[in-house]
Symmetry: C7
Subunit: 94 residues, 7 copies
């Protein structure tokens, strides 16, 4: 399993079936193209000045919209994941 | 529904009828063209150093003027939205 | 009415009559050309680290000198306004 | 009168007579050419994190050396002034 | 032995045998290519404003995924090591 | 006399006689060429967040090594001085 | 003697004999080439927000690995030294 550090999250691609139901369709021309993913792992949170950590606003299982050029792709155990910072998450789909 | 994170807001376009009444007409030549939108969702607010969040100055339903190149366009459930940071909001129309 | 957010101000142009009396004449060649305006609305102030807001140094009705390339022009109810940050205000004319 | 905001100062040119007595002669080739001026108005001081203001180190009447490309020239009531930030002041002539 | 300073870590390459078991396969085309390494030494942690140090999130022996262009290669006692900052570590493999 | 502001210092050139005794010889090719000077005036110190000032580490009379491209040359009462920030001082010669 | 200011250190080159015993061999091609030096003087430490100084992690006599392009070369009393910031020190050799 991949445990992200700090304010990072591990996302997996949301499959097309889910996208169709209440899904997000993204315009091709947007400069910063948002995309959809499901959160599979959440880091311990960004570090505050006093040494405590910020509780992340997203949880495992959340479907999130993120900025396209954010993050690093990683292939682990045969599956592809994206590691992004929480600040690259625009919104949670509820 | 789209729940924006942190200091982000979800805006929808204001229709022309509303624009005419007390509306804002924006010059085409301005380098940073402001635009009008209605707030449909407000994030939990920017994070302060002490881990608390700043109460946003805008509320759902507010008509706001924002900088044109701010934000990311998202299409959700067939409608177009704009996700912006509160700092990209110039003024609230009252 | 336009209510500016945070450390922003809404300014309107000062008419020439007022400029003549104790007015400011600005050189054309200056790299950063200052200009004169009257404050018509003041935001709630910049946010401090502790979540409080800085009391703005200018008030409604003040005649101020601001940097030319600052701010965003907005046309509202048929009148032109300029929305600037308080940090773009160089001085108050007293 | 011009009342500068925050950490800004209003300076007027020092006349040549004063320059001759214990005056500063500035090399033409210096990349950042310092210049001499007399302080005619002092702002309320830079804002600290706790919302208080820093007491300026210069006072009205001080002769100061400032960096040449600092500030904005303003003409007011027929006289030319320079509005600079206190951080652009290199030294006070005593 | 190399003792890294502050928020730095010393990593050694993970051998291919380990990579095969539950290993990470990294795409060649990624702009920021993540890589795998084993932590052999951990610094005292980044410095907080109050002068204390942040407890690192990784420990000696951890297998970590890091950004490729991070860090400095050092050869010591005939072995190659990589000295990286903890912020360059994307995730820990568990 | 020149009284430097904040974290600034006024330096004068050290004469060659002094340089010879325990002197510093500086390579010509260095990108950032350090140089030697004697401190003739010390500012009140850099401002801390709490509004107090940092006590400078150098005193009047100290011989210091500073980075060449730091500072501003000023000619005052017929003598040349250099006004630098304390952070441009690399070391004190003892 | 050279007394470095703030978070600076004075280093001298480590001679080849020492390098051979448990030495560090550095690749020529590395973008940021680390190098070895012996600490001969330590500054009073970086300044914290509260005006105290951070206790340096290295001591006189330590052999350290530093980034090649860091620091300023100084020749003093016929010997060459390098003045670097502590943040340019990657690791201590133990």
């Amino acid at each position: 399993m991949l445990k992200p550090l700090g304010d990072r999250l591990v996302l997996e691609q949301v499959e097309s079936e889910e996208k169709t139901a209440g899904g997000i369709v993204l315009p091709d021309s947007a400069q910063e193209k948002p995309q959809e993913g499901r959160v599979v792992a959440v880091g311990s949170g960004a570090l505050k000045d006093n040494g405590e950590r910020v509780t992340p606003e997203v949880s495992e299982g959340d479907i999130v919209v993120y900025s396209k050029f954010a993050g690093t792709e990683v292939k682990y155990d045969g599956k592809e994941y994206l590691i992004v910072r929480e600040s690259d998450i625009l919104a949670v789909v509820q």
